[in-house]
């Protein structure tokens, strides 16, 4: 059976409901930007959110809430003016969901492997990185301390489950030893949400552990 290459329906529902952690949401949003067809599910989930909202019992607001909001409307800055003061997008050509974030410099993370941090989305130990792996290279064999979500942005890699191409989304199974190998001619660029440190098994892991910070 071939692996699925899009987020599960329950993960897409959580994305639409706003209950995914920020790092996970960034990776899912990148997938949605590259694979508009998956948006069918998030549209559906948002529509269900609307129907859930319609069906809720109302909780009265405080006395004077409407008047207080009306007062603040006077001061509400029109949308266009707000757009203008927003900081310019970071200087990189990544899919739209990643453009609002600053990036750390690239750092070496093993032969042919570079990583940089997507600064901002964090949830405890969970964070977002970009991984760039050279053609023909493998990422270091690793197991996962936590959930790892990956979305390919450029290039392609292969695992035992087949080839993953731009837009493909992979949810790593913590029990599986994972060693993606780049099969594209150009380097493979991925965005990933990592929870905790990746564990590199074996001697290479022991050798690299003091130096490699993913």
């Amino acid at each position: 059976m071939s692996a699925r290459r899009h987020p599960s329906e329950e993960r897409l529902l959580a994305f639409a409901a706003g209950t995914l952690s920020a790092p996970e949401a960034v990776v899912v949003a990148t997938h949605l930007a590259l694979r508009p067809r998956t948006r069918t599910w998030t549209h559906l989930a948002q529509a269900v959110g609307g129907s859930v909202l319609d069906d809720l019992e109302p909780t009265p607001l405080d006395n004077g809430a409407f008047a207080s909001v009306l007062d603040r409307l006077e001061a509400a800055v029109p949308d266009e003016a707000r757009e203008a003061v927003r900081a310019p997008a970071a200087d990189h050509a990544l899919p739209a969901p990643l453009r609002g974030f600053d990036l750390s410099p690239w750092r070496w993370a093993g032969p042919g492997v570079h990583v940089r941090d997507v600064l901002g989305p964090r949830d405890g130990d969970c964070r977002v990185i970009l991984l760039r792996i050279a053609p023909g290279q493998s990422a270091p064999r690793h197991t996962h301390a936590g959930v790892e979500l990956t979305c390919v942005i450029e290039g392609a890699y292969a695992t035992d489950d087949g080839v993953f191409e731009p837009g493909d989304f992979e949810e790593a199974d913590p029990s599986v030893l994972h060693q993606p190998r780049v099969v594209s001619r150009a380097p493979c660029l991925c965005v990933a949400a990592l929870d905790g440190q990746i564990v590199l098994p074996g001697r290479l892991g022991k050798l690299l552990a003091p130096f490699v910070r993913l």
Binding site: E10, A14, H43
Partner: protein, 188 residues
């Protein structure tokens, strides 16, 4: 007795956008502000925070009325998304940069005929689809919208295994999709 949603909430939002119509805004406020407050309370916000965020959500409805596109989402789904974004901003930093992207409902993508998209803007169709689910599926899906953090909490609250919760959500979503696609094809 619960009041029905304003008959054409999309038109009310359009009047806010075009004419800063305060009467239209009052109607939207009266119906949705108390429901947004309930959503936030059910999501674990303390009452004072829920009050503040519900008011903030209504201010956002006013400010962003021009960006609402009735061809892409029901008014309820749009207001739900606004409330959801405010809630996640309040809970954690680092998520707000995402909202500029997903609050557009993918408006930057070329519009293509899509049964789900046209069904999703129709609140009545979505509610009918929800009623077609078995109660376990509907409950798991509803809880996913107001339970802060993950399906494992839903699993604890319902006292059923996590895998069961995920399966209920997954099959429920597939059933909703099939229902709406069938209904929308019937409408053509």
């Amino acid at each position: 007795m619960r009041s029905p949603p304003p008959r054409d909430c999309g038109a009310l939002i359009a009047r806010i956008a075009q004419a800063q119509d305060r009467d239209a805004f009052a109607e939207v406020f009266d119906y949705y502000a108390p429901r947004v407050k309930t959503l936030l309370v059910k999501s674990g916000s303390p009452p004072a925070a829920a009050e503040e965020l519900a008011q903030e959500a209504m201010l956002t409805v006013w400010r962003k009325a021009a960006s609402y596109d009735p061809a892409r989402a029901s008014a309820a789904a749009w207001i739900f998304t606004i409330a959801r974004n405010l809630r996640s901003d309040a809970l954690r930093r680092g998520s707000s940069a995402l909202h500029a992207f997903d609050a557009t409902f993918g408006a930057e993508a070329p519009a293509q005929p899509d049964a789900i998209l046209s069904g999703a803007q129709d609140g009545a169709c979505v509610r009918a689809a929800m009623r077609s689910l078995n109660p376990d599926q509907a409950q798991a899906i509803e809880m996913a919208f107001y339970q802060e953090q993950t399906h494992s909490q839903i699993s604890q609250a319902l006292g059923v295994p996590l895998g069961t919760v995920k399966a209920r959500i997954r099959f429920g979503m597939m059933k909703l999709k099939a229902f709406i696609e069938r209904e929308m094809r019937g409408a053509e």
